[in-house]
């Protein structure tokens, strides 16, 4: 049985069916054998319980023997047998005759007769009384007058024949009755056996039917759903669960598994979203940004459009956050994100990299268009924000831009370069934008390209130095008007 533990339900079922079939076959064979024994027993009982038939048959035999003995007596008397022998024979004949009479007249012997048979026995009794008288007369006459005894034997023989006819009728009548009982017994046994065979056959069919039904209704669906779940676990998330028409237990289980799968899928989507998006603004986070950037960089060779990365840093956000609290800071971030999204439209993907740092990856803009976008963004973000509680805040945006494949084809290098551009913008007095490589933008006249390539290290130090007053000076939250270069008026008005 231990071996069966890991066998499939179908296998277990098969084993059970085999055991059941074997035992039921054994049972049927046993019952059949018992039935045969019973039949034989009943037949022998019916034979043994034929005392009436036996009695009538013995009676006929005795009467026959008596009659034969009477013939012998007459024959002996005419052939001159010694008187003593004749006497002995006569005596035994008279004894036999008396015994037959006793047997015949014992009514207990003939109690279970049918009406016609009762008539027969009555007639036989009468016949016997006449015959036995003739017999006595013959016994009396035979020694002295054998010829006369022979003549008398003729009459006795008539009487005997009449009796024998009635006895035969009685015997066959009784035999017919007992045979009918025996035949009925045989028929019953045959029917019982037939019923047994039919019942066991039907039982077998039922077992087969049940097995097939169990297989179709339970085992196969379970197998299918198991397979589907294995496929889903292996990564084929869209692998369809088998559908069932019915709403039985298995159907409900399928529904539940379907719901479970749906819940898993939605949870997975939520987790995916949480993993790739910023919880405060709902914008894509650094991870998703880099993913999108890498995707775009892969396609950059095939496309005539460059990929530009815009790194945005809010000017004066820290001041707002410190003076009004995180909730206001968060609200400002959300407002900035919404306004930036409105500006960008379908031109690029906006992401929040952390703190007050945003980034955009654009795959469809040339340098001029990127420049326009940056200018629009600077203008848009610099417009005062009306937050809850009638709070009006104004921040600025410094934007650094790096362009692939001109600057680099590597995502992190590109972002670093954009960062350098950002520093340049900050160095240039904030609330403006700068390209990492000013040459990309031919109209740019703010910075010489040689400046940009001075030293990465010194540029960063400059940025740090310059950032400190940003934090400390509230005035810097409102950058002086006119920081936006006149030459960079946005071509498209922000919505």
């Amino acid at each position: 049985m231990l071996m069966l533990r890991d066998t499939s339900i179908g296998g277990k079922l098969l084993a059970i069916i085999c055991v059941a079939a074997c035992s039921s076959a054994f049972l049927v064979a046993t019952i059949d054998q018992e039935l045969s024994k019973t039949w034989a027993g009943m037949q022998s009982i019916s034979f043994e319980s034929r005392p009436l038939q036996m009695r009538a048959w013995k009676m006929a035999e005795r009467i026959d023997m008596t009659h034969q003995k009477l013939f012998r007596l007459v024959a002996w008397s005419s052939t001159g047998v010694s008187p003593s022998n004749l006497d002995r024979l006569a005596k035994s004949l008279l004894d036999d005759s008396g015994a037959v009479a006793d047997e015949l007249n014992n009514d207990a012997n003939w109690s279970s007769l049918a009406p016609q048979e009762r008539d027969d026995i009555r007639s036989i009794k009468l016949g016997w009384s006449d015959y036995s008288q003739t017999l006595k007369d013959i016994v009396d006459i035979a020694p002295s007058d054998p010829a006369l005894a022979t003549m008398m034997l003729g009459g006795g023989d008539d009487q005997y024949q009449a009796m024998a006819d009635r006895l035969n009728a009685l015997n066959s009548s009784i035999a017919n009755r007992t045979d009918a009982i025996a035949k009925a017994t045989g028929r019953w046994a045959k029917n019982a056996r037939l019923t047994l065979i039919t019942a066991s056959g039907l039982l077998g069919l039922l077992i087969v039917f049940l097995s097939v039904a169990l297989h179709r209704l339970v085992l196969r669906p379970i197998k299918e759903v198991t397979l589907a779940m294995l496929r889903i676990s292996a990564g084929e998330r869209s692998f369809p669960l088998p559908t069932l028409r019915g709403k039985d237990e298995i159907g409900k289980m399928f529904d539940a598994i379907g719901q479970f799968q749906g819940k898993l899928e939605s949870d997975r989507a939520l987790m995916q979203h949480l993993a790739h998006h910023d919880s405060a603004t709902g914008l894509p986070n650094r991870m998703l940004f880099f993913g999108a950037l890498k995707d775009s960089l892969e396609k950059v060779d095939c496309s005539d459009k460059p990929v530009s990365v815009l790194l945005i840093d809010l000017d004066g956000f820290k001041l707002v956050n410190d003076s009004h609290g995180h909730p206001v800071g968060d609200a400002l971030l959300i407002a900035v994100a919404q306004r930036a999204l409105g500006c960008i439209g379908d031109r690029g993907l906006l992401a929040r990299l952390g703190g007050d740092e945003f980034a955009i990856v654009c795959g469809t803009l040339d340098c001029g268009e990127a420049c326009n976008l940056a200018a629009e963004l600077v203008a848009a973000i610099n417009t005062p924000f009306h937050l809850e509680g009638a709070l009006v805040v104004r921040v600025g945006a410094s934007i650094g831009i790096a362009v692939a494949p001109q600057d680099s084809n590597d995502a992190s290098a590109l972002v670093k370069m954009a960062d350098l551009g950002l520093y340049k913008a900050k160095s240039a007095g904030r609330n403006t934008f700068r390209f990492y490589n000013e040459q990309h933008y031919s109209k740019s006249e703010r910075l010489e390209s040689s400046d940009a390539f001075s030293s990465l290290h010194s540029a960063r130090e400059l940025a740090v130095v310059q950032r400190i007053p940003d934090v400390q000076s509230p005035r810097l939250a409102e950058p002086p008007v006119g920081l936006v270069p006149d030459t960079y008026k946005p071509k498209v008005a922000c919505r």
């Binding site: 006449d130 007369d137 006459i141 002295s144 010829a147 006369l148 003549m151 009459g155 008539d158």
Partner: protein, 155 residues
């Protein structure tokens, strides 16, 4: 020697058969014996007559003739040859030809005539051989009949 012997034996056999023939009663003698029985019955009564017959008294023993008396049911009441027959019923007795002779005698006796001849086969009282016999039957009293039979010559 031989022819003489043969003649002697043949002569002896002839004498014997002649003597036998002389022993055989005739039909008239049979009728006469029946009349004798009737007469005695009238004179001395039935019972005495029956007893006399069964005792084989002289008047009822002539040659091979003897009287017998049965009632109408075939019960023998007197027999001049075999006393053992008396007291037995003979209604069912038949001869070799299937002839219920006593029954027929009874029928003759109970007919309107009350008398007549009946032929049948019966053992001879002396030889105990079965022979053809014809008996003269006459009613006797209210419920009996008496008969005397003559044995026929054998061919």
């Amino acid at each position: 020697m031989r022819p003489l012997h043969t003649v002697a034996i043949a002569l002896t056999l002839f004498c014997c058969s002649l003597a036998h023939a002389e022993q055989r009663g005739t039909r008239d003698e049979a009728v006469a014996m029946v009349q004798a029985v009737q007469q005695m019955a009238r004179k001395e009564g039935l019972e005495a007559t029956f007893a006399s017959i069964t005792r084989q008294d002289a008047p009822f023993k002539k040659k091979d003739l003897y009287p017998f008396v049965y009632d109408f049911d075939g019960l023998s009441v007197a027999h001049g040859s075999n006393p053992k027959m008396v007291g037995k019923s003979w209604m069912t007795t038949k001869d070799q030809d299937g002839n219920y002779l006593i029954k027929r005698m009874s029928e003759v006796a109970t007919s309107s005539d009350g008398r007549g001849w009946v032929s049948y086969k019966w053992p001879h009282p002396i030889t105990h051989k079965i022979q053809d016999k014809a008996a003269y039957i006459e009613r006797l009293g209210d419920r009996y009949f008496v008969g005397v039979g003559v044995y026929m010559e054998r061919d």
